[in-house]
C-alpha cells in the first residue's frame, strides 16, 4: 500500500493546503523548539559544573592546615599546625590500601629570570604523583620523577604560559632558569587542558619537594597534602575514608577531634555527591517539563488532526465513493500527520539549536548548551510515534464515516 502514489497524494494534500499544514506544523515545531532549548540549557548547567571541577582528578582529597581553635592536652588555641615529612610518610604507609596517588605541596613565590625576561611566579614543590592528581598533561619533556626527589635535583617543570612569557619561541627544554638567583634546569612543559591553557594553573612552576625543602629552609615542613583515593570506593566509603585520614592526622598532631579549623579537607566525594544530587534534581525537573512540552505538542497535533479530519469529511466521502478502502484513508491521514510532525519537529530542533548557539550564556552558568545526537534521535522517533498516534485516532474515525454522511456534510 505504501507506494509512490500515496506519497504523492500526501505531499499534494500538504502542499495545496498550506495554511493548514503551516498551522499544525507550527504547533509541533514550537513544542520541539522549547524541548530542545530546555534540554540544551540543562545540559549547559551540567557542563558548567563538570568544568568547574574538572581541573583535578575527581577522586581527590586536598588537606590543608590552619590554626587550632580548641585547646587540647594543655595546648592553647591559635597554635599553627604544620604538616611534615614524618606525617606524610605515616599517612602514606597507614592508608596505603586505599590511596591511589599522594603528594605533598610546598609553596613559594619566586622571581624567574631568563635573559632579559623576568616575571613573578608561584612555585609548587611536589612529589611525582602530583601530575596525576592535578591532571597535568606534558606538552614537552617530562614531569618531576623519583630520581629528582632522591637526589634533590634542581630540575623544574614549567606551565605553558611560563614558557611563553620567558622563552617565547625558544625551546625551553634543557635551558636554565634563574629563580631568586638560583639556576634550575627546565625538564618539562605542561598544559592544563581541563582548566584551560590560559588559567592561573598555566603559570605554575613545579620542582621536587625535597629540593624546595632544602633550598628554601622549610626543612621537613609540608604546606598541603593532596591525594586521590581508590576510585573503586563508593561516595560514602570515600567520605568515610577521608574522615579517617583527618582523624588520624589530628591524633598525630595533637588536635582536638572536633577542631574544624586546624586541619581541613576538601573531599571531592562530597562535592561530587552534591553535584550529582543537584544534577539529578535538575534532570528530573527537565524531564518533567520536557515531557510536558512534548505531550502538549502531541495533544496539539491531535487536536489539529481531529479538526483536519472534520474539515476533510467531504473529501474523504468523495474518495470513498470513488472506491477508496478504509485502510487507504487511514494510511493517507496518518502519513500526513507523520510528515508534518517529523518535518516540523526537525525544524523546531534546528531553530532551538540555533537559538542555543546564537547566545553566549556563559555568564549565566550555562556552558556549551548542546543537545546530544542521541537525544535528537530519540526526539525524532518520539515525534514519529506521536505523529502516528495523533493521526491514527481521527483517521480511524474518518475511515469509518459512511460516505453518504460525509457527502452531505456541507
Amino acid at each position: 500500500m505504501l507506494d509512490f502514489g500515496l506519497l504523492r497524494e500526501v505531499l499534494q494534500s500538504l502542499n495545496k493546503n498550506k495554511l493548514r499544514t503551516l498551522l499544525s506544523g507550527f504547533t509541533v515545531a514550537f513544542a520541539i523548539m522549547l524541548f530542545t532549548i530546555l534540554f540544551g540549557i540543562a545540559n549547559g548547567f551540567q557542563n558548567t559544573f563538570e568544568n568547574e571541577f574538572a581541573g583535578d582528578a575527581n577522586n581527590s582529597i586536598f588537606i590543608y592546615s590552619g590554626r587550632t581553635s580548641k585547646p587540647v592536652d594543655g595546648y592553647q588555641t591559635g597554635r599553627r599546625i604544620m604538616f611534615d615529612n614524618e606525617l606524610y610518610k605515616t599517612i602514606k604507609k597507614e592508608f596505603n590500601n586505599n590511596i591511589e596517588f599522594i603528594t605533598g605541596r610546598v609553596y613559594n613565590n619566586v622571581t624567574a629570570t631568563f635573559g632579559v625576561e623576568r616575571n613573578n611566579y608561584t612555585v609548587r614543590a611536589v612529589d611525582p604523583d602530583h601530575q596525576f592528581i592535578e591532571k597535568s598533561e606534558m606538552k614537552q619533556g617530562r614531569f618531576i620523577n623519583s630520581l629528582d626527589l632522591a637526589n634533590n635535583t634542581k630540575n623544574i617543570v614549567i606551565g605553558n604560559l611560563v614558557a611563553n612569557d620567558l622563552f617565547g619561541d625558544i625551546d625551553p627544554i634543557g635551558k636554565y632558569l634563574d629563580l631568586n638567583k638560583i639556576k634550575f634546569k627546565v625538564v618539562g612543559v605542561f598544559v592544563e587542558r581541563t582548566e584551560g591553557t590560559d588559567s592561573n594553573e598555566a603559570r605554575i612552576i613545579y620542582m621536587p619537594i625535597s629540593t624546595a625543602q632544602k633550598i628554601y629552609g622549610a626543612d621537613d615542613k609540608i604546606d598541603q597534602i593532596n591525594l586521590t583515593y581508590n576510585p573503586a570506593l563508593s561516595e560514602q566509603e570515600a567520605m568515610a575514608f577521608g574522615n579517617k585520614i583527618i582523624d588520624r592526622m589530628k591524633e598525630i598532631l595533637f588536635v582536638a577531634k572536633d577542631d574544624q579549623s586546624a586541619i581541613r579537607a576538601r573531599n571531592r566525594a562530597r562535592e561530587a555527591q552534591e553535584i550529582n544530587q543537584f544534577n539529578g534534581a535538575l534532570a528530573v525537573l527537565v524531564l518533567i517539563i520536557g515531557m510536558g512540552t512534548l505531550i502538549a505538542g502531541v495533544v496539539g497535533i491531535s487536536n489539529i488532526m481531529i479538526f483536519i479530519v472534520k474539515e476533510r469529511t467531504k473529501e474523504i466521502g468523495i474518495r470513498k465513493a470513488l472506491g477508496a478502502t478504509p485502510n487507504s484513508i487511514v494510511l493517507l491521514i496518518i502519513l500526513e500527520s507523520i510528515f508534518i510532525t517529523a518535518i516540523s519537529g526537525y525544524i523546531g530542533l534546528l531553530i532551538g539549536g540555533g537559538i542555543l548557539n546564537a547566545f553566549n550564556l556563559e555568564d549565566y552558568w550555562i556552558t556549551d548548551p548542546q543537545v546530544s545526537s542521541n537525544l535528537v534521535m530519540a526526539a525524532t522517533i518520539t515525534l514519529i510515534i506521536s505523529g502516528t498516534i495523533a493521526g491514527y485516532i481521527p483517521a480511524k474515525r474518518a475511515a469509518g464515516v459512511k460516505p453518504i454522511k460525509a457527502l452531505r456534510d456541507e
Partner: protein
C-alpha cells in the same frame, strides 16, 4: 443489470424509527436510462444510496450485475463501488485542491493503475467531455457546467457498468442543464446504463423510463418516448 426485490429501509431516529423505503421492486436492464422521480422525503435519495452501495438495505435483496450486494465489508464495498459504479452528484463533489485531470484520475488511483496510465486514461475521458484544454485547471476556475462535466468524466474514468446521477442538473441553469443531459443521452446511446434521480419533470422526460416514488413505494413505472435534445 440491476434487480431489487422487496427492499425495505428504516432510519433510527432515536426513539422512533423512520420507515423510508417500504418494499421496492425494481429491475433495470443494460442500456436503460431511468429517471427516479419523487418529492423530497419520498425516499429516492435513499434508494440511490443503496443502489450506489453507499448505504445498506435492511430487508430484501439487491443484485448488481448478477452479484448479490449483502453484508459487504468496507473494503469489498469500496471495491464494488470502484468497479461497478460511477457517481455524479448535484454539488459536483470535486476535490478542490486537485486539478481537473487529477480529479478524473482519482478512481483510477484506487484501481491501482500506475501514474502514467491513470493520467492517459483520465485525459481521454476529459477529452470525451470536451474539457481536454482545461485539464490543469482547478475546480474553482471552472463554471458549474464544466465542473459537472469533469465529475461525469471522473464517473466514467473507471468504466463503470452503471452511472448514478443524483440531481445532476440541480445546481445548474436550464441551458447548462440541457447540455449535461444531452451528454448523458449520448453516453446512453453508446450503451451506458444510467440512473438519474431528479424532481424536475422536464429532466425526467429526457430519459427513457420514469419511476415515480412516493412515501417509500413505487407508484408509477412507465417507459416513455425519450425527448432527445438536439
Amino acid at each position: 443489470m440491476l434487480n431489487i426485490k422487496d427492499l425495505h429501509k428504516s432510519y433510527d431516529m432515536g426513539e422512533t424509527s423512520l420507515h423510508v423505503l417500504k418494499g421496492i421492486n425494481l429491475k433495470v436492464e443494460k442500456g436503460e436510462m431511468v429517471a427516479i422521480m419523487g418529492s423530497s422525503g419520498s425516499g429516492k435519495s435513499t434508494l440511490l444510496n443503496i443502489i450506489g452501495i453507499l448505504d445498506e438495505l435492511d430487508e430484501g435483496q439487491y443484485f448488481l450485475d448478477g452479484i448479490e450486494i449483502k453484508d459487504l465489508t468496507e473494503k469489498k464495498s469500496a471495491n464494488y463501488r470502484n468497479k461497478f459504479l460511477g457517481f455524479v452528484f448535484q454539488s459536483f463533489n470535486l476535490i478542490n485542491f486537485k486539478n481537473a485531470l487529477e480529479n478524473v484520475a482519482l478512481p483510477l488511483y484506487y484501481q491501482g493503475l500506475n501514474r502514467k496510465d491513470r493520467l492517459d486514461k483520465a485525459l481521454f475521458h476529459l477529452e470525451k467531455v470536451g474539457l481536454a484544454n482545461w485539464a490543469s485547471h482547478m475546480p474553482n476556475e471552472l463554471s458549474g457546467g464544466q465542473k459537472q462535466r469533469v465529475a461525469i468524466a471522473r464517473a466514467l474514468a473507471a468504466e463503470p457498468k452503471l452511472l448514478l446521477a443524483d440531481e445532476p442538473t440541480g445546481a445548474l441553469d436550464s441551458n447548462t442543464s440541457k447540455e449535461i443531459m444531452k451528454f448523458l443521452q449520448q453516453l446512453n446511446d453508446e450503451g451506458k446504463t444510467i440512473l438519474i434521480v431528479t424532481h424536475e419533470h422536464d429532466i425526467s422526460l429526457m430519459c427513457k423510463r420514469i419511476v415515480k416514488l412516493k412515501d417509500g413505494i413505487i407508484t408509477e413505472d412507465k417507459k416513455i418516448k425519450q425527448h432527445k435534445i438536439k
